[in-house]
Symmetry: C2
Subunit: 306 residues, 2 copies
């Protein structure tokens, strides 16, 4: 759906760092991956990576690599996908062909550590034309549970498209731009796939799952159902369709480093109707496959057009 000119431009785009110090380092230890430039040949291991998919749960990211291998016809009977980060339990990483699948745990700090090391990994491997997609779970606002949201803008808990962090004790604000064209492409492939409801909308990224998302069922809560409803309805009015905990720093870091990025999350419940995730296990398991199916389909289509 992108013109061939645009795709060629993206293919020429090397992953870059926003840090002049790394080029001067003799060794780079990616501590939380248990990988190092002196003990591993990054260009040989990862040089062909074109698609990186990330998600919170290690077992879900293992399931994704199996699924995408099968979809791309790259699976072999009896061959499994070893965890490339087997020496640590901080993150899990799997690869098949041009697809890398990495877990990131829950929350902005956890995904940020992973992204710092992942972006350096792609840089050391001299990767170019990389598309990165977060496939996750979220709470929906005003959507049927099981709906998939492709993020237009990642916004903070005040509905602003900003990611604030503290660097050397000072507040720094970064924009949370995602690739608009990629979001539109994913939306069109979802229409083509026609398996579940998909919308493009804003995604609110919070630092907490309970009070930070206006839940009434945490260990601490000092507001009422009415306060909560007002907050969620204000979010809806600001274009927010789902809430999760990683999209803002994901958008900020990927855009700074030349990665074409998207966020595709399924909603596990409608927060206007409740706080607890109490659907049966098999229903939730099927919901969680939806972002995988859409992104698997997208990757297959991209590769067939290349």
């Amino acid at each position: 759906m992108a013109s061939s000119g645009e795709l060629e431009n993206h293919n020429d785009c090397f992953v870059k760092l926003c840090n002049p110090h790394v080029a001067t380092m003799k060794e780079d230890v990616l501590y939380h991956f248990n990988l190092s430039t002196t003990t591993h040949d990054f260009p040989a291991m990862f040089g062909d990576v074109k698609f990186v998919c990330v998600g919170g749960s290690p077992s879900r990211m293992k399931a994704f690599i199996r699924y995408v291998a099968s979809e791309l016809g790259l699976d072999r009977p009896g061959v499994d996908y070893p965890n490339i980060c087997a020496g640590t339990d901080r993150y899990a990483m799997f690869k098949v062909g041009p697809v890398l699948s990495v877990s990131h745990g829950m929350g902005i700090p956890s995904i940020a550590i992973m992204l710092h090391e992942l972006i350096k990994l792609l840089y050391h491997a001299r990767c170019s034309g990389v598309t990165i997609i977060r496939i996750g779970t979220s709470g929906g606002i005003g959507l049927e549970p099981g709906s998939v949201v492709i993020t237009r803008q990642a916004v903070d808990a005040c509905f602003k498209p900003e990611f604030e962090q503290v660097v050397l004790g000072k507040r720094v604000v970064r924009s949370t731009d995602l690739d608009e064209q990629l979001a539109q492409e994913l939306m069109q492939w979802s229409t083509d796939l026609s398996e579940f409801t998909t919308v493009v909308g804003n995604t609110m990224c919070t630092l907490d799952f309970y009070e930070g998302q206006g839940r009434l069922d945490g260990a601490l809560c000092s507001y009422t159902e009415k306060d909560k409803q007002e907050y969620l309805r204000a979010a809806y009015a600001a274009g927010v369709r789902n809430i999760e905990m990683e999209s803002s720093v994901f958008a900020a870091m990927c855009s700074a480093c030349g990665l074409r990025a998207a966020v595709v999350c399924v909603t596990l419940l409608n927060r206007l109707k409740g706080d607890q995730i109490s659907s049966p296990h098999e229903v939730l398991a099927e919901y969680q496959q939806r972002p995988q199916r859409l992104v698997g389909y997208f990757i297959k289509k991209c590769l067939s057009m290349a």
Copy 2:
């Protein structure tokens, strides 16, 4: 070391919630533990818990329960410790006698989700007199690697003893008090144990491992070695002896809910001398056992005095 009167007072102290809504719920699903009050008998499973130890890595928390079982003479040949949260890969939980060991992943949001559900679990189980200790890893400032820091105060990236979060779009600031007497007791038991250097000092809690801690080796960095040294030296002057990513919300939530809390972290490197964690695996593995040894010794002494 506490007077018997103080211990009795603490033993009478039930875990409490700061949320009136939970008492009105018919069922409480602790989603990220894959436990629910309708499918699990919390008082029977957890009613005898007196010590909760939490740490980032699931495998480290499993190693801890084995170690403490052996120290307390509660291990039986051929009996292993099943993961109580086996139905999910978000967190892992293990129990032996009065000791519960739970993983929390990395960063404030990840430990906050776990603590909301853990505190509700202890409340539903009607636990009283609970002591909770985070046993973790950290970067040290001006200490030999392998030193253990018992946290006096958890401070933010501006060295203030505060935890700021956003609730319904508004900033809320909570204090990060820890139990002073518990920190002193742990310090005295470490002197008694006499196996490694231990200090009591302030712990800086950040939202990021790279830029947020002044590292020069992330994917993004826009400051110099000199800027970094100035920041770390200012932290040292403010009493900070180590840096990690969970202590502030841990202190804020536990003190609000009547849990006697402490943070005991080993330092894996001296940040004044570098950023990368590049010590040999076996050296780091031994360092990581130090908080376990101190806290295991503390629990053994507490139980022998009870």
